[in-house]
């Protein structure tokens, strides 16, 4: 095994230890670049629309990975036909939780802001080189590495986070009972496959995508593919064009490489990417 692996393994042991003490921790795998800085990773997810063929491997991979019940989708793809024959176009738009940064004022995504069970306990995120970063847990919360997560055990099943998300990225998990109210269901959403990422493996949909249209990585690592793509396509500077619903000011960490302007064309056609739309993957 390489030196990196050994390093990661040591960190994992530490991470586990920290957990045992009562603090949730990010068992972040590391590269040397991150190690040198001692920061938490800054996870970003890029969908390259040049590559997406609307095949739905992501949708099904996610269903299998998370055993998501029928009617709920943590990952979904939208199809939209635009234009007039014979100049017709069809666009595909993969959707998942944006893992929003939250607005500049408070840095809290709307779903977390509306959660009555946030903030709760104090936690520590341990960076790969052992630096401790403090943050607050809750029924839904954001880790210092940017993952927007939830804990069913703390959840009252109030559904406020579902309503708060302007994208409709959260839904009820109808086979899950909420931790604090046995009369209510729990919620489901994309977790960036935290259980995989913390073990050094990309999210399932990223791994499974046959076209490499989904790219996940650490923006704090200048050598990561996401860093390179963000630079190449100016994704951070052009959030208004490369992310969904920029006016909501949620600052998504999900970016689209979209040279054909699919986001705009789809929005103009029908899809508004808003919560009122059912979050359902349908081929029509």
């Amino acid at each position: 095994m390489s030196e990196n692996v050994a390093l990661s393994r040591r960190k994992m042991i530490k991470g586990a230890g920290a957990l045992a003490l009562g603090a949730a921790a990010g068992l972040a795998p590391i590269s040397k670049a991150t190690a040198a800085r001692g920061k938490a990773p800054r996870w970003a997810f890029i969908v390259d629309l040049r590559r997406c063929t609307g095949c739905r491997t992501c949708t099904v991979a996610c269903k299998a990975e998370m055993n998501t019940p029928l009617g709920a989708f943590r990952a979904a793809v939208y199809d939209q036909v635009v234009g007039t024959f014979p100049k017709t176009e069809k666009h595909f738009l993969p959707r998942l939780c944006n893992h929003c940064e939250g607005n500049k004022e408070d840095g809290i995504p709307p779903c977390i802001k509306d959660c009555p069970e946030y903030p709760k306990d104090r936690r520590q995120f341990i960076t790969p080189e052992g630096k401790k970063i403090r943050y607050r847990g809750g029924a839904t919360y954001k880790r210092p590495d940017g993952m927007v997560l939830y804990e069913n055990e703390l959840c009252t099943g109030c559904g406020k986070c579902i309503k708060a998300c302007p994208y409709g990225a959260r839904s009820w998990d109808k086979l899950l009972i909420s931790g604090k109210d046995s009369t209510k269901n729990g919620i489901a959403k994309c977790t960036f496959c935290q259980h995989r990422v913390d073990n050094g493996v990309v999210p399932s949909c990223v791994n499974m995508c046959p076209q490499k249209a989904r790219i996940f990585g650490d923006l704090n690592d200048p050598n990561s593919q996401v860093s390179k793509l963000v630079k190449e396509f100016g994704l951070l500077e052009n959030r208004d064009k490369n992310t969904l619903l920029p006016k909501e000011n949620t600052v998504p960490m999900l970016f689209y490489i979209d040279p054909r302007g699919a986001l705009m064309k789809m929005a103009n056609a029908r899809k508004k990417f808003e919560k009122e739309e059912a979050w359902v993957d349908q081929i029509t």
Partner: protein
């Protein structure tokens, strides 16, 4: 402090990770790896419980692509399927259908016990019987036919049966039993392609070398969503287009996902792709952009020894009639576009022309494929890096069973009615039930089908039902299946096969890299219930009938094959394959230009090898049906039955080359643009455009019905996979906005679609994504059996349950188009003419 499950599990997870790293591939610029790497001792854990999962390499079987994959097993239950990163074919990827394989395994409607009909055939009344009772009954019936000297009255009809499954069941079991009354499903797939390829370059299957190509022309293939080598090719094409800026132009009647991702979608009238390909050939020949070098290997005239100049002149003269302006009138594709694409295709080296059912599932579809082959040949894009290559797959050695085999007999019902099809080299199996009804070629006493659904997969569903139901036509029907589909409902006996995730195979599907990959399928879990791999069952049946096959299970057969196959044996044999799933020779070079190889003089001196002057072919008459050398010489290579089996090489300009070795027909070793074999059957010798007769007689308001596939379904076997059917469960008929307006139809209207074969009622999807004058209805859905997710009703033999079912939120189930598509063969190949049906559409 209260702790929740996920946090507790994180602890476990962390601890487990400490023991063994999740992946072997850490390092480089990004520390994150993809698929957990089996070879490096990777691990995977449950997101819910943190439990470590067992990883077993195997192979998919959702479609014929048969990707290598890894099954993740937790507490004896398969929980996830991912691609095998060590496969050179799939590069760690599988598709949505592959990933939903778990739904195939844990299908709550699965048949888990042998069943015997108790009511009338098709009434849906069943009795569970033991395997011993089932096989005692079946063996007695089969043995009786065999003992009476009529083994051919046992008809075996398969849909998907490849590699070791085909060898065990067909080459060993059925051969030793003595029946050659064997049907397949190729004519309802892409048979016209294969016949055309056999007539031009010999063996069927074309690999598209996207890794090296610089330009792609696509005639009717959904290569990015539904190809027969889907995952290996689609990802390479995606790379070519995005990383290297390779352009792809797609001719299709519908804006498929592939067309949508193409540089340009070129809408085309159904059945006219051949006209475009011919016009392109014309443009290229007239512009002098043909590949002189390759012309040496082309046969373009009756005279096999014609000079390149004579061949060029012959093609120029034949093609002159096919001007781009003419093709525009036929196809609606602008002449200027045809011209510019032809020139770009000819000038960009290498370029790859691809084709599939959209182009070939027509009257004279084989001619369209020949035109496409010609387009590749005249530009030298044959068997070259970046072009259209002859397929390369693993060559397994296997135990062949008893040395002495009976002389097998056949009812002539799998190749279509006599005189209707010139070269049904892959059968005309949509004609089987019609021929059984007709009776003149005899009828099977026992009709058994395996991974096949004669009722649903062919056209004219009602006729299929009526014939299968009629006990006077077929006395005994046996269905081998895991699922209660529309055909299983008409069986007298059902033998419960497991899903492919519970059985053994060696595998050999075509490699996109031109380097063969050996791989295996192994059970990820034990077969559920009493389901039993049919390959094991035939060993049992053979023993019961007194002709042991020399192995007693598929596992044993695969093991023996691993030891017999030198490359696999050297790698570590069966144990290696079980551990890694895949093997390829890391030193192997990609196979290109095989036709250029010189034949060694010794090979020409062997006993029985003679020279055929008429074709320039050296061949060994002993391997043909000729009784003597004199007879062989008198009849000649072309007209001696099975002469192609003795093919040695092709003489061209005084040298003998390996050439384009024939398979199934007596073509020469040239790349035969000119086909003497077709001429003998009174078809044009050079690829030609022959209009579809029914389309010439259409009235103003008639439409042409075409079918298609979506990315999330297998043709007919995935509708009960809940994760797929949740995404796609309804198939409203696509009609262009202008056409709909003319017919007074609005989006969402109930409509009736009527053909000569029948009428269906469905819904209109009024759209800009299909050409005017066409109604496009997908396959996959519209089931009336198969189970709760497919048809809305539980199968009468359902052995399981699924808590998800109460969350099924959709009620639509689509309408199957095959009810109204007549079973009509292409007269050259026998291909089912899926895309030719003329229909009337009106508001219901």
């Amino acid at each position: 402090m209260k702790r929740d499950i996920s946090r507790r599990d994180l602890i476990k997870l962390g601890a487990a990770s400490a023991a063994v790293m999740a992946t072997g591939k850490v390092g480089g610029s990004s520390a994150l790896a993809g698929t957990v790497d089996l070879a490096a001792g990777g691990k995977d854990f449950s997101p819910q419980t943190g439990a470590e999962r067992k990883m077993i390499p195997s192979a998919c079987w959702s479609c014929v692509t048969r990707d290598s994959m890894i099954g993740f097993v937790e507490d004896g239950r398969l929980v996830k399927l991912e691609g095998n990163p060590n496969s050179i074919r799939g590069r760690g990827k599988i598709c949505s259908k592959g990933a939903s394989g778990i739904n195939q395994l844990y299908d709550p409607d699965r048949i888990l016990y042998p069943m015997k009909r108790v009511g009338k055939r098709g009434e849906g009344k069943w009795k569970r019987i033991s395997w011993d009772e089932a096989l005692t009954d079946l063996a007695a019936r089969l043995k009786k036919l065999r003992d009476e000297g009529h083994p051919e009255k046992f008809m075996f009809h398969y849909g998907r049966m490849k590699a070791s499954s085909s060898k065990i069941i067909k080459s060993v079991f059925l051969a030793n039993y003595g029946t050659k009354t064997i049907g397949n499903h190729t004519s309802i797939c892409e048979g016209a392609k294969w016949t055309a390829q056999e007539l031009t370059w010999g063996k069927h299957y074309d690999n598209w070398d996207f890794d090296n190509t610089k330009f792609v022309l696509n005639f009717g293939s959904g290569v990015l969503e539904a190809h027969t080598n889907h995952i290996p090719t689609c990802q390479r094409l995606g790379d070519a287009m995005v990383d290297r800026g390779v352009k792809m132009y797609t001719f299709d009647v519908r804006l498929s996902n592939t067309a949508a991702k193409s540089t340009e979608w070129l809408p085309v009238k159904p059945g006219t792709d051949g006209a475009i390909a011919l016009a392109m050939c014309n443009v290229i020949m007239q512009a002098g952009l043909y590949d002189k070098e390759f012309f040496k290997f082309i046969r373009a005239t009756k005279d096999p020894n014609a000079s390149t100049a004579a061949k060029v002149a012959a093609l120029k003269s034949h093609l002159a009639q096919y001007t781009p302006e003419w093709a525009e009138k036929v196809s609606t594709v602008p002449a200027a576009k045809i011209k510019s694409l032809a020139l770009e295709f000819a000038k960009t080296k290498p370029a790859c022309v691809i084709s599939y059912r959209g182009a070939v599932a027509h009257y004279h579809g084989a001619d369209t494929e020949r035109a496409v082959q010609m387009l590749a040949a005249i530009t030298g894009n044959i068997d070259n890096p970046g072009g259209r290559c002859r397929a390369v797959g693993a060559k397994w050695k296997y135990p062949k069973g008893p040395k002495k085999k009976p002389k097998a007999k056949a009812l002539k019902i799998a190749q279509g009615f006599p005189g209707t099809i010139a070269y049904p080299t892959h059968g005309a199996n949509h004609q089987v039930l019609k021929m059984i009804k007709d009776g003149r070629a005899g009828r099977p006493e026992v009709y058994m089908w395996y991974c096949y659904t004669p009722v649903y997969a062919n056209g004219e569903c009602q006729e299929n039902i009526d014939i299968l139901k009629d006990e006077s036509l077929i006395p005994f029907t046996v269905c081998v299946n895991a699922y209660y589909d529309e055909s299983a409902a008409l069986a007298d006996m059902i033998l419960p096969n497991p899903s492919y995730l519970e059985w053994w195979d060696y595998e050999d599907m075509v490699s996109p890299t031109q380097v063969p990959e050996y791989y295996i399928r192994q059970p990820l879990v034990k077969p559920l219930g009493e389901s039993r791999d049919f390959k094991d069952v035939v060993c049992d049946l053979a023993n019961r009938m007194g002709f042991p096959l020399g192995f007693n299970s598929a596992e044993e057969f695969v093991k023996m094959s691993c030891e017999k196959t030198p490359a696999v044996k050297a790698a570590g044999g069966f144990e290696y394959m079980k551990k890694h799933g895949v093997y390829h020779d890391p030193k192997a070079k990609p196979k290109y230009y095989g036709y250029k190889k010189a034949v060694k003089p010794d090979a020409l001196k062997k006993d029985g090898v003679i020279f055929d002057k008429a074709t320039g072919v050296y061949w060994n008459w002993h391997k043909s049906k000729a009784k003597s050398e004199a007879e062989a010489k008198e009849k000649g290579y072309t007209k001696t039955k099975n002469a192609y089996k003795g093919y040695i090489g092709q003489e061209i300009g005084g040298k003998v080359y390996a050439g384009f070795k024939p398979d199934k027909v007596n073509k020469s070793g040239y790349f035969e643009v000119y086909s003497e074999l077709l001429e003998m059957k009174k078809f044009p010798a050079l690829p030609s455009y022959v209009p579809i007769p029914e389309h010439k007689k259409m009235s103003a308001n008639d439409l042409i019905l075409t079918t298609y596939k979506v990315p999330v379904h297998i043709h007919s076997r995935s509708a009960n996979c809940k994760w797929l059917t949740e995404i796609y469960h309804d198939n409203p008929a696509m009609i262009n906005t202008r056409t709909a307006k003319r017919l007074g139809i609005k989006d969402g209207d109930k409509i009736k679609v009527k053909s000569e074969a029948g009428e269906i009622t469905t819904t209109a999807n009024v759209t800009e994504a299909v050409v005017p004058g066409v109604v496009a209805i997908s396959h996959h859905v519209g089931h009336w059996e198969y189970g709760r997710y497919a048809s809305g009703k539980k199968s009468p033999l359902a052995a399981g349950d699924d808590s998800d079912f109460k969350l099924k939120w959709w009620t639509k189930k689509g309408v199957h188009p095959n009810w109204i598509i007549p079973n009509k063969p292409d007269p050259i190949s026998g291909q089912q003419r899926w895309m030719d049906t003329v229909v009337k559409v009106r508001k219901a």
